[in-house]
Amino acid sequence: MAAKGARGLNEAMKALSLASHTCREATSIRIPSATFIRSMATEVPLPTGATNTNSSSPPSSFWRPAMTVPVTVFNFPSYEPQRLESWSSKHLNLPLRRDILHLAVVYEGDNTRQGTASSKTRYEVSGTHRKVQAQKGLGRARAGTRQSPIRRGGGKSFGPKPRDFGTKITRKVYDLAWRTALSYRYRRGELVVCQDGMELPLPPDFEALLESRGMRESGAEIAARFRAKWVKQVLDTNDWGRKAGRSTFITSSHRDNLFECLDLVPNWGRALDVEDVDVKDLLETGRIVVERDALMHMIESHQSDLVPKVFVPNAALPSRQVSGEILVE
């Protein structure tokens, strides 16, 4: 009886973990199969499909969240949807964990601190250590050295010294924060994935325009103003600009045109190399416009909680989350 009770509890716990699982492998959870024998008199015959643990036809009694989510890949400046891909839910559809995002942002902030503030103590302030005045007989307060912290020009008692403010965070938590931030943006519809080679093209007449003598004589400023107007127009037409709350553009490498143009109009958006991106950057501005390559790089370099460090020879066990399969093109 006790064993039966424990088994029932076990089964209940498994069902519970299935319903609420987020980060663990869903396929590794065993669903009670038909081989399980009930001893109740009023037993209901189990449905035949219940043995099927395949994600395509889940048992009707359980709600299984989708294992993949669709992602549209756009052409960059034209904003034309070009392809539909499926990405793993573990990558782009994690539940929002504000606490983890907070941990990550604080960790980044700590490590970004320069920590170079410095002041001199009484032993570092230069000057003679001779007694300032006689101990007695002057009618003034006793005074030792000029470097005393209570005197003007003296040292600082507990002043700042250069130090490292950096803190530590569990790598798996930090990686989870990355994907949580991306998932949050994805669910809000603020993650625009663009095709590889994302670069801002200037109008074809621009080169010819630069060649003309009037432009050359007017200096670099007028060319910069042209680029600024152009990039503003591109962003405003796509509803990515200032009125839409700015955008962060993330590319896998430095793109001259895009980066230089966006530097001219900081109120419309900013561009970042994927190596310079932090979790905090993913949470700022109205939307993230990210190159597909860069998104893949961000996810692949931040999934230590999904990929086991130990090699598992059993091929039946799920190895890793797959993202980027093409659904429609």
Partner: protein
């Protein structure tokens, strides 16, 4: 993933000058646009000429002429101190002498595509070079016309023609009217299923032209689209003609810039909506290709993008319409209460004021304001505001503006 974007047909809004693939296909255009300038270097004087890209657009020519009539500041400076009879030929000839014959004068100050470069600097003629004995060059700036820099050069409409504007796949204005969204979705559904019936699967993910005359569009929307119980869709019209309209024809590109087909109005769409069979909302969109094509077309027509995370929930036209038709947020809280909570306004003991209740409002409510105004008038004081004392005067003084 390919690194070089595939050349796509233009979004088909108006003309070739405004296609989306233009920025990508820049290299060939540059050579085309630049060729005439370099080949015509031997011409001694500036003659009005148009570039090949602007030959079909008379606006360029008129712009060019108007800039001729209004001399640039540099030229004006040459004219002003002396007689107005000074001709254009002299400074031009001077520059040509100075820089040699191989100088490319033809392209200077001329429109480059839709953009106008600033005029090259022109120098005033020296006193000894002017034949007119009455010519007296200015020695001080007094009386001379003030000329500015080129800071707002691109903000002037003459220098940046609308053809040079960036054109996106997304329309410039988002369509929010419910009836127009209905019409766009219906059009997208008809076009998508027409392509599928013809069997042109590859074109489902491509870019389709949007140029359809109003009458044709109304005719298309009036088709009797039905969805049977088993999910079969009958379009109620000829799918081939629709599918033909979705292929790019070369003569479409060279159309006049102004020939934009008049758009469907919200009233027309609402009238059409009454005639539709309700079963069209049950058309299944669960096929990912169909769903992709429909949502893409709707995005192109209305600017309404279905968020990725909602894509999987779109199974029928009805759910798509539900996602697209979000009621716009009320602007102010009072408006929201008026619209959504009328029961609050009906209560006799509740009053709503849309504006802030000021001190003056309270005095008016008491009936004391009239008396105050009379007293102020008696003393010669302003009835409203601060009179001569400007608002925030201290601030302007402290910030050094006064």
């Amino acid at each position: 993933m390919r690194r070089i974007p595939r050349l796509r047909r233009p979004s088909g809004l108006t003309s070739s000058a405004t296609n989306i693939s233009r920025p990508i296909a820049g290299a060939s255009n540059i050579t085309q646009a630049f060729a005439p300038f370099s080949s015509s270097s031997s011409r001694p004087a500036i003659t009005p000429r148009t570039t090949p890209s602007s030959s079909s657009k008379p606006s360029h020519i008129s712009r060019f002429y108007s800039s001729q009539q209004n001399p640039t500041p540099a030229q004006e400076q040459t004219h002003e101190p002396g007689t107005a009879l000074q001709t254009d030929v002299q400074p031009t000839a001077r520059i040509v002498d100075e820089f040699g014959e191989d100088l490319d004068l033809e392209g200077e100050g001329l429109p480059v595509g839709p953009f106008m470069a600033p005029r090259p600097r022109a120098e005033a003629a020296r006193r000894e070079e002017v034949a007119d004995p009455d010519y007296e060059p200015a020695t001080t700036a007094a009386g001379l016309k003030k000329v500015g820099g080129v800071a707002d050069w691109w903000q002037q409409p003459d220098n940046w023609a609308p053809e040079g504007d960036f054109v996106s796949f997304r329309p410039r204005e988002k369509v929010v009217a419910s009836s127009l969204i209905d019409a766009a979705v219906r059009r997208a559904v008809i076009e998508t299923f027409a392509l599928r019936q013809i069997g042109r699967e590859d074109d489902l993910v491509g870019v389709w032209p949007t140029t359809v005359s109003n009458a044709d569009l109304q005719h298309l929307l009036a088709w009797d689209v039905k969805c049977a119980e088993d999910g079969a869709v009958t379009l109620g019209g000829d799918a081939t003609t629709v599918a033909d309209g979705l292929t790019w024809k070369d003569d479409q590109d060279s159309g006049d810039y102004a020939a934009v087909p008049e758009a469907l109005t919200a009233d027309e769409a609402a009238a059409l909506r009454e005639t539709w069979d309700q079963s069209w909302k049950a058309i299944s969109l669960s096929d990912p290709r169909i769903r992709f094509a429909v949502t893409k077309r709707v995005f192109q027509l209305t600017g309404q993008l279905v968020p990725d995370h909602q894509l999987s929930s779109i199974t029928t036209v009805k759910t798509l319409l539900h996602v697209l038709k979000k009621p716009p947020k009320p602007v102010t809280f009072t408006e929201e209460v008026q619209k959504r909570h009328p029961e609050l306004l009906e209560l006799p003991n509740v009053t709503f004021t849309p504006r802030r209740v000021t001190r003056g409002d309270k005095e008016i409510a008491l009936g004391r304001f009239q008396l105050m105004q009379d007293e102020l008038k008696k003393r010669g004081l302003p009835a409203h505001g601060h009179g001569w004392a400007s608002k925030g005067g201290d601030l302007t003084r402290m910030s050094g503006k006064m």
